[in-house]
Amino acid sequence: MRRLRILSKLAWRNLWRNHRRTAIMLGAISVGVWAMIFMTALTQGMVTEMIRDGISALPGHVQVHHPDYRDDPSITNLIPMTDTEIAATFGPAGFSAWSSRIKVPAVITSERDSRGVTLLGIDPVRERDMIFVDYDEVEGRFLESVDDRGVVIGHKLADTLDTEVGKRIVLMSQDPDNDIADRGFRVVGLFHANVEAFEETYVFAGKKTLQNMLRVGDRVTEVVVLGEDYRNVEDEYAAVLALVDGGVEVRRWTELDTYLGTMLKVMDGFVLVWVIVIFLALSFGLVNTLVMAVFERVREIGLMLALGMKPGDILGQILIESMLLLVIGLGIGNLLAWLTIKPLEGGIDLSIVAEGMEMFGAASVLYPQLRLEDVVLANVVVLILGFLASLSPAWRASRYEPIEAITKVD
């Protein structure tokens, strides 16, 4: 223990013998670590937003459909249980949130124009915290019950259709016998979404109203369950599997939107690759610094060996020196990252490239996300790889032959 203290003291003093070199190296490590964490926070923020938006587009972390529905999202592919049975099955299961819906393609027509949309028949009370629409922000009002006779559409769609709150529109879709099912509705509300495409695509109506219009009785096309944490929905998945029998397909969101699902995986890989790339760029400087530090001190090291210091202590001393350098650099880098990310957490406005971000599936405001596990990952990777990179110069220093080392001339 005492030896460690002496070695640390020696290492610490050695570090500041050439304060310029140490300062430059600290600068490099700090910038590197800052970049690791900053970039990671930005990408994590972007991915989280993308996934949040993506999940809100197809709300429900675990979804139940008729086996053919995903390939053929038609009203003929209904879940082979009545909605009452579904409520009796899912209600007591203790999910944090769940709901059943009708979701079919439809055409919406105003007196001016028509568009293809995705028509959702929902239970507005149950879905309040599930869908991406903020009920209180809706112009007019949101749906109030399952048999609400109005529809709520996006602002953007209302613009294209030349319609507004209070006006009538017609919705057309098909019923299970492939007869046209249509019905006039009054537009009761207009919603905003942070992804513009949602405002063009989704039309909300009451579930009961749609069941009547589409002549499907007490049946629905999907049941969805929200989990506590979208990153891990295995518990909910298993619970849903246990509730339903054959004849339906149960899918996690990562399987429903493979782009998003892959994104989550690729991003975790990206963080590691990015941290390692930065470290490699840093490692050249780190090894260089250590090699030089040893080189300058050959005679001194020889003297210490001759005076009886063990080679292991020389090795330890240089490793401690390297670790001290890394720890200080990490400290500054982490602090810098924290200082730059905190003020940005309110969101970075990217609206100049909004539509491009939308193409990635992300919203135009980026909220950097400082995740503890990413910071830990960066720090641990730097320390471990830094230790490994320091081994060679340190080992070399401890292997000097005292006599040769002492007599070495520059």
């Binding site: 310029r20 690729v266 760029a281």
Partner: protein
């Protein structure tokens, strides 16, 4: 000159390990930059080409406001004649007229809302890749036949194949009810999921009849021989538009605004990463050169006492850096170029890339393409920043006092 070069070269190899480590940092960044830049710009080109060739074209003549609202009433009058006039004036075949609207399409078993386009069967193949991507049946050939071609996903969803009938319901230009019964002539597969799921094409003549278009349409698609010539062509098209009519030419950036911005967003994050790499290399160079100058304080004191000016000494230090930089560029370009070229020939893929790629109309295997720019741009910047980093140690020499320097420990 020769002497200075030789001096610089020898100075470099006084500490071979240090020189190699610093050069190594440069080589590492250069290889990475060459690979990334080749990949990136190859990808952007593909994204643009694939997205525009399928359907959008390089530019379109439209009614003002159509681009935002796409209302059926926002028309281009006498669209067929306009396209013909442009073809003749510009001596180009890659120009075609279209009309479009949304309808409810019903087959025996299924009903879906889709976008239908009225196209000129004779000219459409010159502006869109869809006619060449027919996987069953054939493309449209007669201008007023009651026929339709649809995307493969749509065909599967509607459960129809070639020869089946579809009923189209929608509204005409005047807001009246419009309906038609058409036969599926062909099914195409573009590989772009959005297009395959929701696009159908009718002959323009039939479209104009069914939707009471009175000779009008919604867009004239114009393709330039190359993307780089699109700008010049656009001003030519603008000059040829009939006076007195309210028409605008929308370029591809306006037609697919997501595309350029997606590229910009990707580019800015990529450049941030490149910037960090370059800065780290610069630190490495700064460290090395500062050390090598400090080590030589006594030596520099002597040569200055002998009459060498600090300026010349500074140039020597810069020359050393430049030599190191050149080695970095040469080795980096060699390794990076070879690696990228090899991957460009064989292609590569990583897990998850397929799902990501289809989202941006890209193939599942990537083939980076080495160009002179991608080969030299990154290394040139690395070199530049290395020299900038070496400026501080070089300029520091001006503060050196010969007598004190000679006595330095």
């Amino acid at each position: 000159m020769n002497l200075v070069l030789r001096l610089a070269w020898r100075n470099l190899w006084r500490q071979p390990r240090r020189t190699w480590l610093t050069t190594g940092a440069m080589v590492f960044s250069n290889v990475l930059l060459i690979f990334m830049i080749s990949l990136q710009f190859g990808m952007y080109r593909l994204m643009i080409d694939n997205s525009l060739q399928a359907f959008t074209g390089h530019m379109q003549v439209q009614a003002p406001g159509y681009i935002d609202d796409q209302k059926i009433r926002q028309t281009v009058p006498n669209v067929r004649q306009l396209a013909a006039a442009l073809r003749q004036e510009l001596g180009s075949e890659t120009i075609a007229a279209r009309a479009s609207t949304f309808v409810l399409a019903s087959s025996e078993e299924r009903t879906y809302g889709i976008a239908v386009y009225g196209i000129e069967p004779q000219f459409e193949p010159q502006v869109s890749s869809i006619p060449g991507l027919i996987t069953a049946g054939r493309f449209l050939d007669a201008d007023d036949a009651a026929e339709i071609v649809i995307g493969s996903v749509l065909a599967r969803n509607l459960r129809v194949s070639v020869g089946d009938e579809l009923t189209l319901l929608g509204s005409g230009k005047d807001g009246s009810f419009a309906a038609a019964v058409v036969t599926v002539a062909g099914i195409f597969e573009s590989g772009v999921p959005d297009i395959d799921r929701s696009v159908a094409e009718l002959p323009l003549g039939l479209f104009q009849d069914v939707f009471y278009m009175e000779g009008s349409g919604h867009q004239v698609v114009v393709n330039a021989p190359r993307l780089s010539e699109a700008d010049t062509l656009q001003s030519e098209v603008e000059a040829l538009l009939p006076p007195g009519q309210d028409l605008v030419v929308q370029d591809w950036d306006a037609l697919q605004p997501g595309l350029k911005q997606a590229i910009q967003a990707d580019m800015s994050s990529a450049f941030f990463m490149y910037g960090i790499l370059v800065i780290l290399v610069a630190f490495s160079v700064l460290n090395t050169q500062l050390m090598s100058v400090l080590e030589r304080t006594r030596e520099f004191g002597i040569v200055m006492a002998l009459g060498l000016t600090p300026g010349r000494l500074g140039r020597l230090v810069l020359l050393e850096t430049a030599m190191m930089g050149l080695m970095g560029v040469a080795l980096g370009a060699l390794l990076g170029g070879a690696l990228t070229w090899w991957l460009g020939v064989h292609g590569f893929s990583y897990p998850g890339m397929e799902e990501m790629a289809t989202k941006f109309n890209l193939p599942a295997r990537m083939y980076p393409r080495v160009t002179l720019t991608s080969l030299l741009a990154g290394p040139a910047v690395v070199m530049l920043f290395s020299l900038l980093a070496a400026l501080y140690p070089a300029l520091r020499l001006h503060r050196l006092h010969p007598v004190e320097a000679m006595r330095a420990a």
